[in-house]
Protein backbone atom coordinates (compact mmCIF):
# COMPACT_ATOMS: atom_id res chain seq x y z
CA UNK A 1 0.00 0.00 0.00
CA UNK A 2 1.30 3.38 -0.97
CA UNK A 3 0.19 5.24 2.15
CA UNK A 4 3.68 5.88 3.47
CA UNK A 5 4.74 7.43 0.17
CA UNK A 6 3.66 11.01 0.59
CA UNK A 7 2.29 12.41 -2.63
CA UNK A 8 1.72 16.13 -3.19
CA UNK A 9 -2.00 15.62 -3.87
CA UNK A 10 -2.80 14.71 -0.31
CA UNK A 11 -0.89 17.66 1.03
CA UNK A 12 -0.73 16.41 4.58
CA UNK A 13 2.67 18.04 5.14
CA UNK A 14 1.63 21.43 3.94
CA UNK A 15 2.50 24.23 6.36
CA UNK A 16 4.22 22.03 8.93
CA UNK A 17 7.49 22.87 10.70
CA UNK A 18 10.60 20.73 10.16
CA UNK A 19 10.02 19.00 13.49
CA UNK A 20 6.40 18.25 12.69
CA UNK A 21 7.44 16.75 9.37
CA UNK A 22 9.86 14.51 11.27
CA UNK A 23 7.15 13.39 13.73
CA UNK A 24 4.83 12.76 10.81
CA UNK A 25 7.49 10.78 8.98
CA UNK A 26 8.09 8.46 11.95
CA UNK A 27 4.37 7.97 12.37
CA UNK A 28 3.85 7.24 8.64
CA UNK A 29 6.79 4.81 8.64
CA UNK A 30 5.53 3.06 11.75
CA UNK A 31 2.04 2.85 10.31
CA UNK A 32 3.24 1.42 7.00
CA UNK A 33 5.59 -1.11 8.53
CA UNK A 34 4.10 -2.12 11.87
CA UNK A 35 0.36 -1.62 11.38
CA UNK A 36 -0.81 -1.68 7.75
CA UNK A 37 0.33 -5.25 7.07
CA UNK A 38 -1.70 -6.47 10.07
CA UNK A 39 -4.81 -4.30 10.11
CA UNK A 40 -6.95 -6.86 8.29
CA UNK A 41 -5.87 -9.68 10.60
CA UNK A 42 -6.43 -7.60 13.71
CA UNK A 43 -9.93 -6.77 12.43
CA UNK A 44 -10.84 -10.32 11.44
CA UNK A 45 -9.45 -12.04 14.54
CA UNK A 46 -10.34 -9.18 16.91
CA UNK A 47 -6.77 -8.94 18.17
CA UNK A 48 -5.87 -6.13 20.61
CA UNK A 49 -2.30 -5.52 19.37
CA UNK A 50 -0.61 -4.94 22.71
CA UNK A 51 2.97 -5.52 21.52
CA UNK A 52 2.60 -3.19 18.55
CA UNK A 53 1.16 -0.44 20.75
CA UNK A 54 4.01 -0.89 23.23
CA UNK A 55 6.45 -0.48 20.32
CA UNK A 56 4.64 2.72 19.45
CA UNK A 57 4.89 3.83 23.08
CA UNK A 58 8.66 3.33 22.94
CA UNK A 59 8.73 5.97 20.25
CA UNK A 60 6.82 8.33 22.51
CA UNK A 61 3.28 7.69 21.26
CA UNK A 62 1.89 6.56 24.64
CA UNK A 63 1.57 10.01 26.17
CA UNK A 64 2.09 12.42 23.32
CA UNK A 65 0.77 15.54 25.03
CA UNK A 66 1.62 14.43 28.57
CA UNK A 67 4.40 16.21 30.45
CA UNK A 68 7.90 14.71 30.14
CA UNK A 69 8.53 14.53 33.89
CA UNK A 70 6.15 11.57 34.07
CA UNK A 71 7.20 9.93 30.83
CA UNK A 72 5.20 11.88 28.27
CA UNK A 73 6.50 13.46 25.09
CA UNK A 74 5.38 16.99 25.95
CA UNK A 75 4.21 17.80 22.43
CA UNK A 76 1.41 20.12 21.31
CA UNK A 77 -2.18 19.25 20.31
CA UNK A 78 -1.26 20.00 16.72
CA UNK A 79 1.75 17.65 16.84
CA UNK A 80 -0.60 15.05 18.32
CA UNK A 81 -3.15 15.51 15.55
CA UNK A 82 -0.47 15.11 12.90
CA UNK A 83 0.80 11.94 14.54
CA UNK A 84 -2.61 10.28 14.96
CA UNK A 85 -3.55 11.19 11.41
CA UNK A 86 -0.43 9.47 10.10
CA UNK A 87 -0.75 6.40 12.37
CA UNK A 88 -4.36 6.03 11.33
CA UNK A 89 -3.31 5.29 7.75
CA UNK A 90 -1.88 2.03 9.11
CA UNK A 91 -4.82 0.99 11.28
CA UNK A 92 -7.57 3.41 12.21
CA UNK A 93 -9.12 1.24 14.93
CA UNK A 94 -5.84 0.75 16.82
CA UNK A 95 -4.88 4.41 16.48
CA UNK A 96 -8.29 5.45 17.78
CA UNK A 97 -7.79 3.32 20.87
CA UNK A 98 -4.31 4.83 21.33
CA UNK A 99 -5.88 8.27 21.22
CA UNK A 100 -8.35 7.31 23.96
CA UNK A 101 -5.46 5.98 26.03
CA UNK A 102 -3.58 9.25 25.49
CA UNK A 103 -6.63 11.23 26.58
CA UNK A 104 -6.85 9.29 29.86
CA UNK A 105 -3.17 9.75 30.65
CA UNK A 106 -3.49 13.47 29.98
CA UNK A 107 -6.42 13.71 32.38
CA UNK A 108 -4.40 12.13 35.17
CA UNK A 109 -1.35 14.23 34.26
CA UNK A 110 -3.35 17.47 34.28
CA UNK A 111 -5.84 17.02 37.10
CA UNK A 112 -4.03 14.53 39.31
CA UNK A 113 -1.87 15.61 42.22
CA UNK A 114 1.86 14.84 42.23
CA UNK A 115 1.40 11.48 43.93
CA UNK A 116 -1.27 10.38 41.42
CA UNK A 117 0.76 11.56 38.43
CA UNK A 118 3.77 9.60 39.58
CA UNK A 119 1.72 6.57 40.47
CA UNK A 120 -0.15 6.23 37.18
CA UNK A 121 1.44 8.19 34.34
CA UNK A 122 4.86 6.56 33.78
CA UNK A 123 3.51 3.04 33.27
CA UNK A 124 0.71 4.41 31.08
CA UNK A 125 3.09 6.46 28.92
CA UNK A 126 5.16 3.35 28.28
CA UNK A 127 1.95 1.36 27.73
CA UNK A 128 3.11 -1.16 30.27
CA UNK A 129 -0.48 -0.48 31.35
CA UNK A 130 -3.45 0.56 29.24
CA UNK A 131 -6.30 2.92 30.11
CA UNK A 132 -10.03 3.29 29.43
CA UNK A 133 -12.34 6.33 29.63
CA UNK A 134 -15.62 5.56 31.42
CA UNK A 135 -18.40 8.12 31.03
CA UNK A 136 -21.25 6.59 28.99
CA UNK A 137 -23.84 4.41 30.73
CA UNK A 138 -26.76 2.32 29.47
CA UNK A 139 -29.07 5.17 30.50
CA UNK A 140 -26.89 8.18 29.66
CA UNK A 141 -25.09 8.69 26.35
CA UNK A 142 -25.61 12.15 24.90
CA UNK A 143 -27.15 13.24 28.19
CA UNK A 144 -23.87 12.39 29.91
CA UNK A 145 -24.46 14.61 32.92
CA UNK A 146 -27.42 12.47 33.95
CA UNK A 147 -25.15 9.52 34.73
CA UNK A 148 -26.19 7.32 37.62
CA UNK A 149 -23.11 5.41 38.78
CA UNK A 150 -22.94 6.37 42.43
CA UNK A 151 -19.84 6.76 44.57
CA UNK A 152 -20.76 6.87 48.26
CA UNK A 153 -18.15 8.24 50.62
CA UNK A 154 -17.28 5.81 53.42
CA UNK A 155 -14.34 6.94 55.52
CA UNK A 156 -11.34 7.25 53.25
CA UNK A 157 -12.97 5.31 50.41
CA UNK A 158 -15.74 5.62 47.87
CA UNK A 159 -18.07 2.69 47.24
CA UNK A 160 -19.19 2.55 43.61
CA UNK A 161 -22.37 1.03 42.26
CA UNK A 162 -23.55 1.15 38.67
CA UNK A 163 -22.28 0.38 35.23
CA UNK A 164 -20.72 1.93 32.16
CA UNK A 165 -21.46 0.93 28.59
CA UNK A 166 -19.45 0.75 25.37
CA UNK A 167 -16.10 1.16 27.10
CA UNK A 168 -13.19 0.96 24.63
CA UNK A 169 -10.55 -1.43 25.92
CA UNK A 170 -12.86 -2.48 28.75
CA UNK A 171 -11.77 -5.73 30.36
CA UNK A 172 -8.36 -5.76 28.70
CA UNK A 173 -7.10 -2.46 30.04
CA UNK A 174 -5.62 -1.85 33.49
CA UNK A 175 -6.61 1.67 34.47
CA UNK A 176 -10.15 3.07 34.33
CA UNK A 177 -10.91 6.79 34.53
CA UNK A 178 -14.49 6.74 35.80
CA UNK A 179 -16.96 9.61 36.04
CA UNK A 180 -19.38 8.91 38.90
CA UNK A 181 -21.85 10.70 41.13
CA UNK A 182 -20.57 11.79 44.52
CA UNK A 183 -23.02 14.60 44.99
CA UNK A 184 -26.43 15.79 43.81
CA UNK A 185 -27.93 15.53 40.30
CA UNK A 186 -26.48 17.24 37.25
CA UNK A 187 -22.89 17.92 36.25
CA UNK A 188 -21.86 19.51 39.55
CA UNK A 189 -22.45 16.27 41.42
CA UNK A 190 -19.96 14.28 39.36
CA UNK A 191 -16.43 13.35 40.36
CA UNK A 192 -13.63 11.55 38.56
CA UNK A 193 -12.08 8.44 40.08
CA UNK A 194 -9.21 6.28 38.80
CA UNK A 195 -9.87 2.55 39.21
CA UNK A 196 -7.61 -0.40 38.54
CA UNK A 197 -8.41 -3.83 37.22
CA UNK A 198 -8.41 -6.27 40.08
CA UNK A 199 -10.20 -4.00 42.54
CA UNK A 200 -12.90 -6.08 44.21
CA UNK A 201 -16.34 -5.27 42.84
CA UNK A 202 -15.04 -4.27 39.40
CA UNK A 203 -16.16 -6.60 36.64
CA UNK A 204 -16.86 -6.54 32.92
CA UNK A 205 -19.64 -7.46 30.56
CA UNK A 206 -19.35 -9.58 27.44
CA UNK A 207 -17.18 -8.41 24.56
CA UNK A 208 -19.39 -6.57 22.08
CA UNK A 209 -19.52 -7.63 18.43
CA UNK A 210 -18.96 -4.54 16.34
CA UNK A 211 -19.04 -3.47 12.70
CA UNK A 212 -15.56 -2.00 13.05
CA UNK A 213 -13.02 -0.98 15.73
CA UNK A 214 -12.38 -4.70 16.08
CA UNK A 215 -8.76 -4.36 17.11
CA UNK A 216 -10.01 -2.97 20.42
CA UNK A 217 -12.42 -4.82 22.73
CA UNK A 218 -15.57 -3.00 23.86
CA UNK A 219 -17.30 -4.06 27.06
CA UNK A 220 -19.59 -2.84 29.81
CA UNK A 221 -17.78 -1.98 33.05
CA UNK A 222 -19.71 -3.00 36.16
CA UNK A 223 -19.31 -1.70 39.71
CA UNK A 224 -20.82 -3.72 42.57
CA UNK A 225 -19.88 -2.25 45.93
CA UNK A 226 -16.53 -1.50 44.38
CA UNK A 227 -14.27 0.10 46.98
CA UNK A 228 -11.94 2.85 45.72
CA UNK A 229 -9.53 4.88 47.89
CA UNK A 230 -10.26 8.61 48.11
CA UNK A 231 -6.63 9.04 47.05
CA UNK A 232 -7.73 7.88 43.59
CA UNK A 233 -9.96 10.89 43.02
CA UNK A 234 -8.69 13.34 40.39
CA UNK A 235 -9.27 16.93 41.39
CA UNK A 236 -12.06 17.97 43.73
CA UNK A 237 -15.47 16.44 44.33
CA UNK A 238 -17.83 17.90 41.75
CA UNK A 239 -15.02 18.63 39.29
CA UNK A 240 -15.44 15.33 37.45
CA UNK A 241 -17.73 16.49 34.66
CA UNK A 242 -15.48 19.41 33.82
CA UNK A 243 -12.48 17.07 33.75
CA UNK A 244 -14.38 14.69 31.47
CA UNK A 245 -15.35 17.47 29.05
CA UNK A 246 -11.88 18.96 28.96
CA UNK A 247 -10.54 15.51 28.15
CA UNK A 248 -13.09 15.22 25.36
CA UNK A 249 -12.06 18.48 23.68
CA UNK A 250 -8.71 16.91 22.95
CA UNK A 251 -10.35 13.56 22.32
CA UNK A 252 -12.52 15.09 19.61
CA UNK A 253 -9.49 16.46 17.80
CA UNK A 254 -7.82 13.07 18.09
CA UNK A 255 -10.80 11.12 16.75
CA UNK A 256 -11.20 13.64 13.93
CA UNK A 257 -7.49 13.15 13.18
CA UNK A 258 -8.01 9.40 12.97
CA UNK A 259 -10.78 10.05 10.43
CA UNK A 260 -8.39 12.21 8.41
CA UNK A 261 -5.87 9.38 8.27
CA UNK A 262 -8.45 6.86 7.12
CA UNK A 263 -9.62 9.25 4.41
CA UNK A 264 -6.03 9.94 3.34
CA UNK A 265 -5.35 6.23 2.99
CA UNK A 266 -8.62 5.71 1.14
CA UNK A 267 -7.88 8.48 -1.36
CA UNK A 268 -4.51 6.86 -2.12
CA UNK A 269 -6.17 3.47 -2.52
CA UNK A 270 -8.80 4.93 -4.87
CA UNK A 271 -6.09 6.71 -6.84
CA UNK A 272 -4.16 3.47 -7.24
CA UNK A 273 -7.25 1.54 -8.28
CA UNK A 274 -8.31 4.12 -10.86
CA UNK A 275 -4.86 3.93 -12.45
CA UNK A 276 -4.76 0.16 -12.59
CA UNK A 277 -8.34 -0.86 -13.36
CA UNK A 278 -9.38 -0.72 -17.01
CA UNK A 279 -12.85 -0.66 -18.49
CA UNK A 280 -14.02 0.27 -21.97
CA UNK A 281 -10.39 -0.09 -23.10
CA UNK A 282 -8.98 2.59 -20.81
CA UNK A 283 -7.83 3.05 -17.23
CA UNK A 284 -10.66 4.36 -15.05
CA UNK A 285 -8.44 7.38 -14.33
CA UNK A 286 -9.13 8.66 -17.86
CA UNK A 287 -12.79 9.06 -16.97
CA UNK A 288 -13.57 12.69 -16.15
CA UNK A 289 -16.34 11.87 -13.70
CA UNK A 290 -13.93 9.83 -11.63
CA UNK A 291 -11.19 12.44 -11.98
CA UNK A 292 -13.62 15.03 -10.66
CA UNK A 293 -14.63 12.67 -7.88
CA UNK A 294 -11.04 12.22 -6.80
CA UNK A 295 -10.47 15.97 -6.93
CA UNK A 296 -13.50 16.59 -4.72
CA UNK A 297 -12.35 13.97 -2.24
CA UNK A 298 -8.89 15.52 -1.98
CA UNK A 299 -10.38 18.98 -1.59
CA UNK A 300 -12.81 17.93 1.14
CA UNK A 301 -10.02 16.10 2.92
CA UNK A 302 -7.84 19.19 2.94
CA UNK A 303 -10.72 21.33 4.22
CA UNK A 304 -11.36 18.87 7.04
CA UNK A 305 -7.68 18.69 7.88
CA UNK A 306 -7.35 22.45 8.12
CA UNK A 307 -10.35 22.64 10.48
CA UNK A 308 -8.88 19.97 12.72
CA UNK A 309 -5.42 21.52 12.82
CA UNK A 310 -6.89 24.96 13.46
CA UNK A 311 -8.91 23.60 16.39
CA UNK A 312 -5.78 21.88 17.71
CA UNK A 313 -3.93 25.18 17.71
CA UNK A 314 -6.80 26.92 19.49
CA UNK A 315 -6.91 24.24 22.18
CA UNK A 316 -3.14 24.40 22.66
CA UNK A 317 -3.31 28.15 23.12
CA UNK A 318 -6.18 27.84 25.57
CA UNK A 319 -8.33 30.16 23.48
CA UNK A 320 -11.90 30.79 24.56
CA UNK A 321 -13.31 29.53 21.27
CA UNK A 322 -11.38 26.25 21.50
CA UNK A 323 -14.26 24.03 22.66
CA UNK A 324 -16.55 25.23 19.86
CA UNK A 325 -13.81 24.86 17.28
CA UNK A 326 -13.11 21.31 18.49
CA UNK A 327 -16.81 20.46 18.17
CA UNK A 328 -17.04 21.96 14.68
CA UNK A 329 -13.87 20.20 13.58
CA UNK A 330 -15.05 16.85 14.94
CA UNK A 331 -18.44 17.24 13.27
CA UNK A 332 -17.07 18.33 9.91
CA UNK A 333 -14.08 16.01 9.68
CA UNK A 334 -15.81 12.82 10.78
CA UNK A 335 -18.75 13.42 8.41
CA UNK A 336 -16.60 14.46 5.44
CA UNK A 337 -14.07 11.69 5.92
CA UNK A 338 -16.74 9.03 6.10
CA UNK A 339 -18.07 10.36 2.82
CA UNK A 340 -14.59 10.27 1.31
CA UNK A 341 -13.90 6.71 2.42
CA UNK A 342 -17.31 5.64 1.18
CA UNK A 343 -16.72 7.26 -2.19
CA UNK A 344 -13.33 5.57 -2.40
CA UNK A 345 -15.06 2.26 -1.80
CA UNK A 346 -17.52 3.01 -4.60
CA UNK A 347 -14.65 3.74 -6.97
CA UNK A 348 -13.35 0.24 -6.33
CA UNK A 349 -16.56 -1.22 -7.74
CA UNK A 350 -17.25 -4.77 -6.62
CA UNK A 351 -13.74 -5.15 -5.28
CA UNK A 352 -14.47 -2.43 -2.73
CA UNK A 353 -16.94 -4.75 -1.06
CA UNK A 354 -14.39 -7.53 -0.53
CA UNK A 355 -12.46 -7.82 2.69
CA UNK A 356 -9.33 -8.51 0.65
CA UNK A 357 -9.32 -4.81 -0.12
CA UNK A 358 -8.51 -2.40 2.72
CA UNK A 359 -10.91 0.38 1.77
CA UNK A 360 -13.94 -1.35 3.34
CA UNK A 361 -12.16 -1.54 6.69
CA UNK A 362 -11.51 2.19 6.69
CA UNK A 363 -15.21 2.75 5.99
CA UNK A 364 -16.26 0.41 8.79
CA UNK A 365 -13.70 1.72 11.25
CA UNK A 366 -14.49 5.42 10.91
CA UNK A 367 -18.27 5.08 10.84
CA UNK A 368 -18.33 5.15 14.63
CA UNK A 369 -16.35 8.41 14.77
CA UNK A 370 -19.58 10.19 13.88
CA UNK A 371 -21.12 8.71 17.03
CA UNK A 372 -18.68 8.55 19.92
CA UNK A 373 -16.85 11.23 21.91
CA UNK A 374 -20.07 13.16 21.52
CA UNK A 375 -22.40 12.35 18.65
CA UNK A 376 -22.33 14.73 15.71
CA UNK A 377 -25.78 15.77 16.87
CA UNK A 378 -24.32 16.83 20.22
CA UNK A 379 -21.60 18.70 18.31
CA UNK A 380 -24.39 20.67 16.61
CA UNK A 381 -25.96 21.35 20.01
CA UNK A 382 -22.68 22.78 21.28
CA UNK A 383 -22.21 24.99 18.23
CA UNK A 384 -25.84 26.20 18.23
CA UNK A 385 -25.70 27.03 21.91
CA UNK A 386 -22.54 29.04 21.31
CA UNK A 387 -24.11 30.92 18.40
CA UNK A 388 -27.40 31.67 20.12
CA UNK A 389 -26.01 32.73 23.47
CA UNK A 390 -23.68 35.33 22.00
Amino acid sequence: MASAAETPNCLSSTGLTEDQKEFQKVAFDFAAKEMAPYMAEWDEKEIFPVETMRKAAQLGFGGIYVKPDVGGSGLSRLDTSIIFEALSTGCTSTTAYMSIHNMCVWMIDTFGNEEQRRRFCPSLCSMEKFASYCLTEPGSGSDAASLLTSAQRKGDTYVLNGSKAFISGGGDTDVYVVMCRTGGPGPKGISCLVLEKGMPGLSFGKKEKKVGWNSQPTRAVIFEDCVVPVDNRLGAEGQGFSIAMQGLNGGRINIASCSLGAAHASVLLAQEHLTVRKQFGEPLANNQYLQFGLAEMATRLLAARLMVRNAARALQEGRQDAAVLCSMAKLFATDECFGICNQALQMHGGYGYLKDYAVQQFVRDIRVHQILEGTNEVMRMIVARNLLQG
Binding site: A2, A4, A5, E6, T7, P8, E18, D19, K21, E22, F23, K25, V26, D29, F30, A32, Q58, L59, G60, F61, I64, P68, S73, L75
Partner: protein, 254 residues
Protein backbone atom coordinates in the same frame (compact mmCIF):
# COMPACT_ATOMS: atom_id res chain seq x y z
CA UNK B 1 38.90 2.81 21.87
CA UNK B 2 37.10 5.46 23.89
CA UNK B 3 38.12 8.24 21.49
CA UNK B 4 37.02 6.36 18.38
CA UNK B 5 35.05 8.52 15.94
CA UNK B 6 32.82 7.07 13.24
CA UNK B 7 32.01 9.00 10.07
CA UNK B 8 28.82 7.87 8.35
CA UNK B 9 28.12 8.92 4.78
CA UNK B 10 24.45 9.10 3.81
CA UNK B 11 22.46 9.93 0.68
CA UNK B 12 19.05 11.48 0.10
CA UNK B 13 17.23 9.36 -2.47
CA UNK B 14 13.74 8.99 -3.87
CA UNK B 15 11.68 6.92 -1.40
CA UNK B 16 11.59 3.21 -2.21
CA UNK B 17 7.78 3.16 -2.34
CA UNK B 18 7.44 5.89 -4.97
CA UNK B 19 6.49 4.99 -8.55
CA UNK B 20 9.39 6.55 -10.40
CA UNK B 21 8.74 8.26 -13.76
CA UNK B 22 11.26 9.28 -16.40
CA UNK B 23 11.29 13.05 -16.87
CA UNK B 24 10.63 14.49 -20.33
CA UNK B 25 13.91 14.44 -22.23
CA UNK B 26 14.84 10.98 -21.04
CA UNK B 27 18.00 12.08 -19.23
CA UNK B 28 16.69 12.15 -15.70
CA UNK B 29 13.96 10.94 -13.41
CA UNK B 30 11.13 13.10 -12.07
CA UNK B 31 12.11 14.42 -8.64
CA UNK B 32 9.94 17.54 -8.29
CA UNK B 33 7.39 17.06 -5.50
CA UNK B 34 8.37 13.41 -5.11
CA UNK B 35 8.93 11.93 -1.66
CA UNK B 36 12.59 11.52 -0.74
CA UNK B 37 14.13 9.60 2.17
CA UNK B 38 17.38 8.50 3.73
CA UNK B 39 18.81 5.70 1.55
CA UNK B 40 17.94 2.41 3.28
CA UNK B 41 21.52 1.05 3.18
CA UNK B 42 22.82 4.33 4.60
CA UNK B 43 20.24 3.99 7.36
CA UNK B 44 21.67 0.57 8.18
CA UNK B 45 25.20 2.01 8.24
CA UNK B 46 24.06 4.79 10.58
CA UNK B 47 22.25 2.35 12.86
CA UNK B 48 25.46 0.29 13.16
CA UNK B 49 27.46 3.39 14.06
CA UNK B 50 24.96 4.45 16.73
CA UNK B 51 24.98 0.92 18.18
CA UNK B 52 28.78 1.02 18.37
CA UNK B 53 28.58 4.26 20.32
CA UNK B 54 25.86 2.89 22.61
CA UNK B 55 28.01 -0.17 23.28
CA UNK B 56 30.91 2.10 24.25
CA UNK B 57 33.06 1.02 21.31
CA UNK B 58 32.84 4.43 19.67
CA UNK B 59 32.72 7.90 21.18
CA UNK B 60 31.14 10.00 18.45
CA UNK B 61 29.09 9.50 15.31
CA UNK B 62 29.36 12.19 12.63
CA UNK B 63 26.96 11.92 9.70
CA UNK B 64 27.73 13.63 6.40
CA UNK B 65 26.23 13.97 2.95
CA UNK B 66 27.07 15.63 -0.37
CA UNK B 67 23.93 17.29 -1.65
CA UNK B 68 21.87 20.41 -2.17
CA UNK B 69 20.17 22.26 0.67
CA UNK B 70 17.30 19.73 0.60
CA UNK B 71 19.69 17.13 2.01
CA UNK B 72 19.51 18.91 5.36
CA UNK B 73 16.25 17.10 6.06
CA UNK B 74 18.06 13.78 5.59
CA UNK B 75 20.75 14.87 8.03
CA UNK B 76 18.10 15.84 10.56
CA UNK B 77 16.56 12.39 10.31
CA UNK B 78 20.03 10.93 10.89
CA UNK B 79 20.51 13.15 13.95
CA UNK B 80 17.12 12.01 15.24
CA UNK B 81 18.28 8.41 14.86
CA UNK B 82 21.25 9.13 17.11
CA UNK B 83 24.13 10.74 15.21
CA UNK B 84 25.91 13.35 17.34
CA UNK B 85 26.52 15.94 14.67
CA UNK B 86 26.09 16.45 10.96
CA UNK B 87 27.94 17.99 8.03
CA UNK B 88 26.37 19.01 4.73
CA UNK B 89 28.84 19.30 1.87
CA UNK B 90 26.61 21.63 -0.07
CA UNK B 91 26.14 21.50 -3.82
CA UNK B 92 24.57 24.36 -5.72
CA UNK B 93 20.91 23.90 -6.70
CA UNK B 94 20.73 21.78 -9.83
CA UNK B 95 24.30 20.47 -9.52
CA UNK B 96 24.79 16.71 -9.77
CA UNK B 97 27.29 14.37 -8.17
CA UNK B 98 28.30 10.75 -8.65
CA UNK B 99 30.26 8.25 -6.57
CA UNK B 100 33.63 9.83 -7.39
CA UNK B 101 32.52 13.29 -6.26
CA UNK B 102 31.00 11.92 -3.05
CA UNK B 103 34.19 9.98 -2.32
CA UNK B 104 36.29 13.11 -2.80
CA UNK B 105 34.11 15.05 -0.35
CA UNK B 106 34.11 12.26 2.23
CA UNK B 107 37.87 11.85 1.91
CA UNK B 108 38.35 15.54 2.65
CA UNK B 109 36.05 15.25 5.67
CA UNK B 110 37.91 12.14 6.81
CA UNK B 111 41.19 14.04 6.72
CA UNK B 112 39.58 16.82 8.77
CA UNK B 113 37.73 14.67 11.30
CA UNK B 114 40.18 11.78 11.62
CA UNK B 115 37.62 9.01 12.09
CA UNK B 116 38.83 5.48 12.77
CA UNK B 117 35.91 4.05 10.84
CA UNK B 118 33.91 5.27 7.85
CA UNK B 119 30.57 3.53 7.37
CA UNK B 120 28.54 3.83 4.17
CA UNK B 121 25.61 2.01 2.67
CA UNK B 122 26.73 -0.51 0.08
CA UNK B 123 24.85 1.34 -2.67
CA UNK B 124 22.15 3.92 -3.19
CA UNK B 125 18.77 2.69 -4.34
CA UNK B 126 18.53 5.32 -7.06
CA UNK B 127 21.64 4.62 -9.12
CA UNK B 128 22.72 1.28 -7.53
CA UNK B 129 26.34 2.22 -8.27
CA UNK B 130 27.99 0.33 -5.40
CA UNK B 131 31.20 2.36 -5.94
CA UNK B 132 31.46 5.16 -3.41
CA UNK B 133 32.87 3.13 -0.52
CA UNK B 134 35.41 1.44 -2.75
CA UNK B 135 36.59 4.67 -4.39
CA UNK B 136 36.80 6.36 -0.98
CA UNK B 137 39.00 3.59 0.40
CA UNK B 138 41.27 3.89 -2.61
CA UNK B 139 41.59 7.69 -2.28
CA UNK B 140 42.41 7.39 1.43
CA UNK B 141 44.49 4.26 0.92
CA UNK B 142 42.55 2.57 3.73
CA UNK B 143 41.41 -1.08 3.87
CA UNK B 144 37.79 -1.72 2.86
CA UNK B 145 35.17 -4.22 3.99
CA UNK B 146 32.19 -4.04 1.65
CA UNK B 147 28.78 -5.78 1.92
CA UNK B 148 29.22 -6.03 5.69
CA UNK B 149 26.70 -8.25 7.47
CA UNK B 150 28.49 -8.19 10.82
CA UNK B 151 30.94 -5.71 12.31
CA UNK B 152 32.94 -5.97 15.52
CA UNK B 153 35.60 -3.60 16.70
CA UNK B 154 38.84 -4.77 18.33
CA UNK B 155 41.77 -2.68 19.57
CA UNK B 156 43.21 -1.10 16.42
CA UNK B 157 41.21 -3.31 14.04
CA UNK B 158 37.74 -4.24 12.87
CA UNK B 159 36.44 -7.69 12.05
CA UNK B 160 33.97 -7.68 9.16
CA UNK B 161 31.79 -10.48 7.93
CA UNK B 162 31.02 -9.89 4.25
CA UNK B 163 28.25 -11.30 2.08
CA UNK B 164 30.01 -12.52 -1.05
CA UNK B 165 28.94 -14.68 -3.99
CA UNK B 166 30.32 -17.83 -2.42
CA UNK B 167 28.73 -17.23 0.96
CA UNK B 168 30.24 -15.38 3.92
CA UNK B 169 33.79 -14.12 4.21
CA UNK B 170 35.34 -12.72 7.40
CA UNK B 171 38.18 -10.23 7.25
CA UNK B 172 40.18 -8.40 9.88
CA UNK B 173 41.08 -4.88 8.80
CA UNK B 174 43.52 -2.53 10.51
CA UNK B 175 41.95 0.78 11.48
CA UNK B 176 41.22 3.26 10.03
CA UNK B 177 39.00 1.43 7.55
CA UNK B 178 36.03 1.93 5.23
CA UNK B 179 33.04 -0.41 5.52
CA UNK B 180 29.87 -0.57 3.47
CA UNK B 181 26.69 -1.95 4.98
CA UNK B 182 24.57 -4.69 3.49
CA UNK B 183 20.93 -5.47 4.22
CA UNK B 184 21.38 -8.02 6.99
CA UNK B 185 23.80 -5.98 9.08
CA UNK B 186 21.00 -4.73 11.35
CA UNK B 187 17.42 -3.47 11.50
CA UNK B 188 17.43 0.33 11.83
CA UNK B 189 15.51 1.94 14.68
CA UNK B 190 12.71 4.44 14.32
CA UNK B 191 13.54 7.93 15.52
CA UNK B 192 11.67 8.52 18.76
CA UNK B 193 9.73 11.73 19.46
CA UNK B 194 12.15 12.80 22.22
CA UNK B 195 15.14 12.14 19.93
CA UNK B 196 13.60 14.17 17.13
CA UNK B 197 13.36 17.10 19.53
CA UNK B 198 16.89 16.56 20.85
CA UNK B 199 18.13 16.52 17.25
CA UNK B 200 17.22 20.19 16.90
CA UNK B 201 20.01 21.11 19.31
CA UNK B 202 22.67 18.98 17.60
CA UNK B 203 25.19 20.81 15.40
CA UNK B 204 24.63 20.77 11.63
CA UNK B 205 27.56 22.36 9.75
CA UNK B 206 27.25 23.46 6.12
CA UNK B 207 30.45 23.45 4.03
CA UNK B 208 30.52 24.36 0.32
CA UNK B 209 31.43 21.27 -1.71
CA UNK B 210 34.20 23.17 -3.48
CA UNK B 211 35.94 23.70 -0.11
CA UNK B 212 36.24 19.93 0.14
CA UNK B 213 37.85 19.63 -3.26
CA UNK B 214 34.75 18.54 -5.14
CA UNK B 215 35.37 19.73 -8.72
CA UNK B 216 32.81 22.04 -10.29
CA UNK B 217 31.13 20.93 -13.51
CA UNK B 218 29.42 17.68 -14.49
CA UNK B 219 30.17 14.51 -12.52
CA UNK B 220 32.70 11.94 -13.74
CA UNK B 221 29.86 9.48 -14.41
CA UNK B 222 27.44 10.87 -16.97
CA UNK B 223 23.92 9.53 -17.32
CA UNK B 224 23.22 9.31 -21.04
CA UNK B 225 19.69 8.04 -21.23
CA UNK B 226 16.85 6.62 -19.19
CA UNK B 227 13.82 4.79 -20.45
CA UNK B 228 10.98 2.98 -18.78
CA UNK B 229 10.90 -0.79 -19.20
CA UNK B 230 8.60 -2.05 -21.98
CA UNK B 231 4.97 -2.40 -20.86
CA UNK B 232 4.02 -5.86 -19.65
CA UNK B 233 2.88 -8.06 -22.50
CA UNK B 234 0.19 -10.66 -21.93
CA UNK B 235 1.21 -14.08 -20.72
CA UNK B 236 0.21 -17.43 -22.11
CA UNK B 237 -1.04 -20.58 -20.44
CA UNK B 238 0.21 -23.95 -21.66
CA UNK B 239 -1.15 -27.42 -21.04
CA UNK B 240 2.02 -29.45 -20.36
CA UNK B 241 5.63 -29.20 -19.30
CA UNK B 242 6.75 -30.31 -22.80
CA UNK B 243 4.73 -27.52 -24.33
CA UNK B 244 6.28 -25.04 -21.88
CA UNK B 245 9.82 -26.15 -22.71
CA UNK B 246 9.04 -25.96 -26.41
CA UNK B 247 7.76 -22.41 -26.15
CA UNK B 248 10.72 -21.28 -24.06
CA UNK B 249 13.15 -22.78 -26.58
CA UNK B 250 11.28 -21.18 -29.44
CA UNK B 251 11.52 -17.78 -27.73
CA UNK B 252 15.25 -18.29 -27.29
CA UNK B 253 14.95 -18.26 -23.50
CA UNK B 254 16.65 -21.64 -22.99
Amino acid sequence: MAALRVLVGVKRVIDFAVKVRVAPGGAAVQTQGVKHSLNPFCEIALEEAVRLREAGAAAEVVVATLGTKASQETLRTALAMGADRAVLAELAEGAAAGPREVAVALAALARRLQPQLVLLGKQAIDDDCNQTGQILAAILDWPQGTFASRVSLEPGAVQVQREVDGGLETLRLRLPAVLTADLRLNEPRYATLPNIMKAKKKPLEVVPAADLGVPAGPPRLRLLQLQEPPPRAGGEKVESVESLLGKLRHAGRI
